[in-house]
Point group: C2
Chain length 341, copies 2
DNA sequence: ACTACCTTTTAAACCGGTTTAAATCCCGGC
DNA sequence: GCCGGGATTTAAACCGGTTTAAAAGGTAGT
């Protein structure tokens, strides 16, 4: 038995045909007699031949890979509960197609642009996922310039040549606010994510709109930054107000759990003195004390859908429609209750 | 201006030399007159030429990429605070070498082996990082069979043909235990990670050994599974003991934070009634209430070192030495204090 | 002036596929 | 018995680099 893996030429000679025929048979191209196709596939099978990715890459000018660039503040290279499940979802699609996922974790700033440029210049990927979409996201123009297909995770505000995969955060946020209103809260504050992010402002506006629709005076919205440290800061500022809120809605679980800590450190009891809600339903949300009321989406399916959508584009479709996922659901736990009398 | 990117032939004709010479110049091969090299490099520069990865891949049979397979229990696709920083560290090495990182997140079981096989069969990577090393890890034999270079993150117990990158968890764990002993604790319990993992048992044995060295009777070691849910369970069992511990050392922060919640849910005050310590210094550790005493390593540097080590192997070195990183450091916060009188 | 021997450069093969243009087969029709 | 034409099949070019073997150029020795 030879150690080298068989090439298309080996298959061809074993089947008694030319390289070209093997290629045709493999790719299901018409014009070959069925008998010949069978003979070739049998030979390929016996030899255990799989076409070389590298050779195919060169001749068809494709990478057979998709890319994901995750931008993180250098100070907090912490993990977002979203990504592992999202990536697993992406993977579930790529595996069956023989594609790979190329990942870059870059620090915010010029590294980010360099990351995309490198992916494009080196021909590493056939398309990329645009996560953590920002308002007037400069990456959209960048990718157009680089001629790199993409899908945006969320709907960009400007016009975009790329399909969007959308998971609307607003219904979930509204559900949280309505839940608090039903409990009797009227002094509800919000700790938002950085307003540069589309999903952060979506949550913020849903917060404000839902209160407005209920005719309740909106309280302070504090700018957070999705980090635990930012959550603490924002919470302290809110609790220091002359008339502090009786409930705080955070734009993600990290800030909410940190806020929970801050409230407890300030001597408050949650939920008796203060109700707290998050967003994401991260693993810890269920297990902190009290359990965190939050909103659960389905990042696995998000990844799956994003991969399917991006692949349509990569496969040459020109009019790929946006994909919309079912919105996130409210998960009620112990951190929310009626306001103090 | 042409839209197509220049090829080596364009550079060759512009410099008035053959393709071969351009290749030699690019790769700094001896045998070319210095003047010729300069001329070629100048021409390449003017054209903005970069050699095609795909063509190089095919002719030199290398992928110019490294792989990381992260295995996660399908139920908890949660994020480990270790990986983002680890990956960023890896990236810092790969970027300058023009390499890419191929990531797979697979669920535990047969998916895992399939993942490595696919990476190898498709020639996606030149080497892989073996993370979450297990005792008698079957992946070592698998990678030998696949003829895929690797580095193990941690020292395997059996003999391994691969270099190891080691960050000793024992000093950190010992430091935690000693810290608790100094505070006066004598009833110290441990919530371990799954004993299949090398780093989990390293922490467990360090726990037991340090207590033994101090002549203190070791208390129960509960088996956890590194998840928050497991942390809760183990904590409940410990607190239900006839003589419950006054301090619990957890093998990671996720379990510790969940344990903190369980203790508080049981009506205990941390640290007055119970001291709690974690391992990892994840982002939330500082911000839960009380702040979590834990152990901090440097995953960025871990990634960096692992990438450098793996690349030595990939570059053909045969006797790559193991690399040892400075051990993790104790970080004392509010969750530990003297035991109740 | 001729040979010997380096140094420098090049032509061509090669990596392993895909694709195009042309060759070959096979059959019915006249 | 020969021709036309669709169905199959193949040879060869191509993707863009690397590498090897041989050619070309230069210098020195005699």
């Amino acid at each position: 038995m030879s150690k080298e893996r068989p090439t298309i030429a080996d298959v061809a000679s074993r089947a008694g045909v030319s390289k070209g025929s093997v290629s045709f048979a493999l790719n299901g191209r018409p014009g070959l007699a069925q008998a010949t196709v069978d003979k070739i596939l049998a030979a390929a099978d016996e030899l255990g031949w799989r076409p070389s990715n590298r050779a195919r890459s060169l001749s068809v000018s494709k990478a057979f890979a998709l890319g994901l660039v995750i931008t993180r503040d250098p100070a907090v290279l912490s993990s977002d509960p979203f990504f592992p499940a999202f990536i697993a979802g992406v993977e579930s699609v790529l595996a069956s197609r023989g594609q790979a996922l190329v990942l870059q974790v870059v620090t915010a700033g010029e590294d980010e642009e360099a990351g995309y440029r490198r992916l494009a210049r080196d021909g590493r990927v056939d398309g990329v996922f645009l996560s953590d979409l920002r308002h007037d996201d400069p990456r959209i123009d960048l990718l157009v310039e680089l001629n790199l297909p993409a899908v945006t995770l969320n709907r960009p505000d400007g016009s975009s040549p790329f399909p969007a995969v959308i998971l609307d955060d607003r219904p979930g946020t509204s559900a949280v606010v309505e839940h608090l209103l039903e409990l009797g809260h009227t002094r509800i504050a919000h700790v938002a994510g950085p307003p540069t992010f589309v999903h952060a402002t979506a949550r913020s506006t849903a917060f404000v709109d839902t209160l407005a629709a209920a005719g309740v005076e909106p309280m302070a919205t504090e700018a957070g930054d999705f980090t635990a440290a930012g959550g603490i800061e924002a919470t302290r500022r809110l609790l220091a107000l002359p008339k502090p809120p009786t409930a705080i809605v955070y734009a993600n679980d990290r800030m909410a759990i940190a806020g929970l800590g801050a409230a407890q450190a300030a001597g408050l009891t949650v939920p008796d003195d203060l109700s707290i809600a998050g967003f994401d339903d991260s693993e810890l949300a269920e297990y902190v004390h009290p359990g965190l009321t939050t909103v659960r989406a389905d990042p696995f399916r998000f990844g799956e859908t994003a991969a399917l959508t991006l692949n349509q584009l990569v496969d040459g479709a020109t009019d790929v429609p946006d994909a919309e996922l079912p919105p996130a659901q409210l998960v009620v736990r112990g951190s929310t209750a009626s306001p103090p009398a």
